[in-house]
Every structure is written in C-alpha cells, then in structure tokens.
Symmetry: C2
Subunit: 372 residues, 2 copies
Amino acid sequence: MTTCSNSSSRNVAIDLGDRSYDIRIGHGLLSDPLSFESLPSSTAAMVVTNETVAPLYLDALKRSIARRHKYVHAVVLPDGEAFKTWESLNLIFDALLKHGCDRKTMLYALGGGVVGDMTGFAAACYMRGVPFVQVPTTLLAQVDSSVGGKTAINHPLGKNMIGAFYQPLRVVCDLSTLNTLPQRELSAGLAEVIKYGPIHDMAFLHWIELNMDKLLTLDADALAHAVQRSCEIKAQVVGQDEREAGLRAILNFGHTFGHAIEAGMGYGAWLHGEAVGAGMVMAAILSERLGMVDKAFVQRLRQVIDSARLPVKGAVIDANANALRYLELMRLDKKSESGDIRFVLIDGPGKAQVRAAPDDVVMSVINDCCAA
Amino acid sequence: MTTCSNSSSRNVAIDLGDRSYDIRIGHGLLSDPLSFESLPSSTAAMVVTNETVAPLYLDALKRSIARRHKYVHAVVLPDGEAFKTWESLNLIFDALLKHGCDRKTMLYALGGGVVGDMTGFAAACYMRGVPFVQVPTTLLAQVDSSVGGKTAINHPLGKNMIGAFYQPLRVVCDLSTLNTLPQRELSAGLAEVIKYGPIHDMAFLHWIELNMDKLLTLDADALAHAVQRSCEIKAQVVGQDEREAGLRAILNFGHTFGHAIEAGMGYGAWLHGEAVGAGMVMAAILSERLGMVDKAFVQRLRQVIDSARLPVKGAVIDANANALRYLELMRLDKKSESGDIRFVLIDGPGKAQVRAAPDDVVMSVINDCCAA
C-alpha cells in the first residue's frame, strides 16, 4: 500500500448545480488527509467497505479522516455482486442506528462498484439523506460506478431495480489501490474505459488501443489518463442529463445484453465488466446488422475488448431456448418502454443512439454470439 | 360511498419549482375522472392500497383512471403501522417487476399515511424514480402525510428512519372517504389539524375550537375548510424548506414525544395522531417550564386536544424507568444532533422554535404527564 502523499492529483469537475462535486485522481490519495480537505466535518462518520478491501485500506482511510470526525465507525460487508441486496443494505442501516448516527453523519464508500452503489443508496435513504464520499478502489468504480450519482441494490428479478439518483460530495480515486486489484477485475474495469470510445470519442479508443499493454501493467501515467478521460466523458454526459431522461442512457452501451448475462448466470458468476465486454460486441454486431456501422468497426471493437482479456462472446444462459431467455431478461431492463427493449447502438463510430430493434434480428445476434 | 362527481373542489398549490403540484380537496373526487385530468398517462399503473381500503374504494379509483392507462394493476398490503416495513415495501416492488412495469408506470397511493409513505418511497426507489399520485383516505393523510414529499418506512430501531424526499404529481383528497373512517382515526387526524394552530396560526386554532363538534360529525363545509387551511399552512412551510434544513421541523410539534410513545408501545398500539395528541401536551408543558408560554396556553391546548377525543397524557412505556426510556428513544429522533434531543417548542402562541432542553426538565415533564 502506498502511503506517501501526492499533491499532483488531477481534478475532474462534475457540474450539476448545487449538487456539483470534484473527482480527484492520483496515486496515494487515500492516505492523504488533504484529499478530504474542505468537506464538511461532522461528529460521526461511517466507512462502508467489504471483507476484501478492509484489511488493505480501512486503517489508512480512517487515519486520513480521523481529524474530521469525533467518531469513525466502520461496517464491513461481504464481498461481491451477490450481496448487493436489501439484506446487506440493512447491515449499514443497523450500524448507523446502533451507533446513534444523526443526519449530519458522513458516509464513506471504500471499495468497488457494489460498495459504492450500496453506500450511496444508504446515504440517500438514511433519515431521508445524509452526505457521502466515494473512495473507489477498483478501476471499474473509478471510471464508472462512482461517478454520476446512480445508486442501487439488485432485486431477484432485475439488476439495480431499487435505487436513487444521489450525488456524492466528492470522489477520491486513489490509483495506488489498483496495485492490489486482481487481473480479472482490472480487465473488467477496462471494459467501461473502452466503452467511452465507440459512444463518444474515437480518438480515445485509438489511444486505448495504443496503450493497452501499459494499462494492463498499471503504468502510472497511462492509468491516470484513462481514468481522467473516462470521468471527463461521463461528466459531460451526466451534466447534460442527470436523471437519464435521454442522452445519459448511451452510457449503458453493452449493458442491455450484459445485464441479461449477469442475471441469467446468477449475479457474481460473470463480473459486470466481463458481461459488458461481451455485451458491447453483441450490441456492435446488432448495430452492424441494422446497417448502422460496418464490419470493420465491429472487428476493431472486438479486437480491443479481446486485448483487454475480456470475453467477446456472450454466455449460453439457457441450453434449450437461449435467445428467448435473453429477450425475457432484457425486457426487464430499465430502458424498456411498454415491453419494447431499447438498445444502445452505435450509429457510426463515436456516436450512440438508443432505439428498439426487431426481435428476429436480436435473436440472430444472440444465436451467433454466444458460446458455452 | 359517494359516486357523484363534484366540480367544486378547492385547490391548494404546493410551490416547489419543477416539483410543484396541486392538492385537490372536495367530496366525491376519487370517483371522478376529472380529478386526474392533465396528469401524464402511461401504459401501466399500479394502485397500492390495503386490506381495509381496497373493498371500499379500489374499484371506484380503478374506474376513474381506467382511460388513462392500458393496464391498471393493484397491490393490497396488510393494514397498519406495524406493516410499514421493508417486507411490505418489497411486496410493491415484487408486483411492479412481476407485471413488467417500466419507468413511466404511475403509482397511486390509495389509503392512509402508511400506504402513502410506503407508496411514495417505492415510487422514489423503483428504477430510481417513477411518478406517483396520492389519494389519501384518512383525515391524517389528507392534512399531513400526503403533503410535502416525506416518504419512509420504519426500522425496528426507529420510525421513518429509511426514506426519501419525493414529491407526488398530485394529491386528490376525497372528503367523502372520511364517512367510512373509524371515529378513533378521525380523532387521530384532528391531532395534526390542531397542530397547525399553536405553531403558526392561532386564528385557525380558535376556528377549530368553535367547530370541533362539526368536525367530529363530518360537516362537509367544516371538513373542507379544516383540510384546506391545514394544507395551506403546510404548503407555506414546506415551500420555504423542502428538505427540512430548518423551519420545516416545526411541523413535528408533538412528534418527538409522540414517536417515543409509538416506538415504546410497539408500532400500532397507539395511532400516530393519538401519540401526537399527547406529545403536543407534553411539548407545551415543556415550553411552559422553560418560560416560553404561560399555563393558560397549555390549558387551552389540552382542552382542544381533549375535545377531539384524543389522549392528553403520555403512555407509561417502562414501569421501572419511564423517563429514561423516553430519553433513550427520543435520542434516536431524526432531529437529534450529536446526541442532543431537539424539541419543537412553542415560543409564544402561534410561533414554534426547535431547540434542546435540559434533561432534568424533560424528565420532570415525562414524570408528570404519563398515565398507565
């Protein structure tokens, strides 16, 4: 664990009126009290983390915020998407109430996307809203789930079905935490980095292609640029459409197919980023079959996803009626309207569009793209 | 059940910027499709109600909104504060997901405060927010809980601890529904009507004193005025402080003691309004012992609460250490800060103030005000 402080952090501003906040990106930030300067101090704080992250970073974070709060409590959740449930959320509420935490208590989310989503939702609901700070420790959380205020838990019938739009007061992305991230999770995070290229910025996709080896070996500058550029693009999109009335949905490229894989295989069997990796290939092929992009684009995207060591084929989730099962699961997607599945498709390189697609074309894509 | 339509409804506007909405007050409104005019229509609607209200009004409401939605589903919850839990909330989510309800699905809360609070919270969280309409069928819900956007469920360690600020698109107060309301619940609703006098409008308190008999016998004009004036005062306070940064807390007059009674006796043993009735007397006596109002004011308030057939003494919730148990429960109140209980006290007739009070004075009030 890096304990040196590093004053050369990069900042990305999220502009949402009175809910605006900064993302600070750099190495060693978690261990540096300066990363938390100018946030409101309060009597109590509650750090929410999980069994994997707690032994690595909980003490360091507690030390960094010790002077800001009279009491720093912690609740350690089980690790994994399978625990993104009401039961885990209730462990946070139990801890807050047991310690008599009031409306000014600051919550800190220390962990990956699951911890961030649950802590944010707990902050949104506890006493109808307390402040919180995101301290994401996975690449996926740093480039995606900690930014933009989407919080949620899963329901047995659908992912992220119960949640709130609720913004943190700050996001502190300590890139040093990626040193302890398993390779599989690093790749999963790269799926969300890659995503920003085809939907918004082909120059960024080109940079990713050139720098994939550096990213996979945790080169400091490459990581910092990838996280910063991802957050900038997300900030730009979210700033225009905080509550996903329209544009923001493009950030879900690859997620419609991906969520079906996650739900169909059982939460946790595939990592979210892995499902998004395969889902992006499927969505690109669907775009191609609808005449929106050419085969060369699909091949290029498949290649970069493969180079990130991510799956490029979907899972067989039902041996007898795979395509129908995908359709059934995708109809539960939050973007669906009146039973019509709405896909994020690529409408020419660097440009995304949300639209429906004929069932037979979707089923042909599923049949051609899934491997046992 | 009144089925005639009545175009002479009174409207109260709640001014909250892009979350503004109207409260419509009148007899027969629930059975009149015009009550729901100009709301967005959607493919699906979900009426949330309870076992007591469903046989009385569910069919009528379904008929009134039938032309606005292709499918009108319903979920019928068990009745009572004891069921204001995550488990009941999940019945709403289960029903929404089972029917494939999307982000545009309209929720209708048909019932009292418990149904309204749970439906509003479900609407706030389902897919991170769907629209909802309040159709309150108890006096308490019509004058208080359906107005102002506070939604919540209870936690075993505290009332309304998990919730959200989330505004309905409209409130339709059908005064005819009060004809089927048990007398005990009518009285409970009157507690929240009376409340608006001492905190804001002594002329209204005077009007209530003169019209109590009419209110208890459901005189149409008296009821309409009481509901309208209560909603006006609440609208004025909430319009200045939607998220309870300060002023709004005065609406909790009587609630700090009251919540301790409800939690201490077990949710449902005392009706919320009954606990607020006794709680207002206790808060008035505390105000008097701190030199803020005189004995005559306390006596006047006790008299009007008594005339509404409400308790004017608190419950003994612990035979051995009653005052300490109250303090313990009140420290969990959402208004508490750093362990200090904050009371809504009367700072001269018609004017409220939120402040702490010495434990020994609070305990003397509890000891003098509770009856087995």
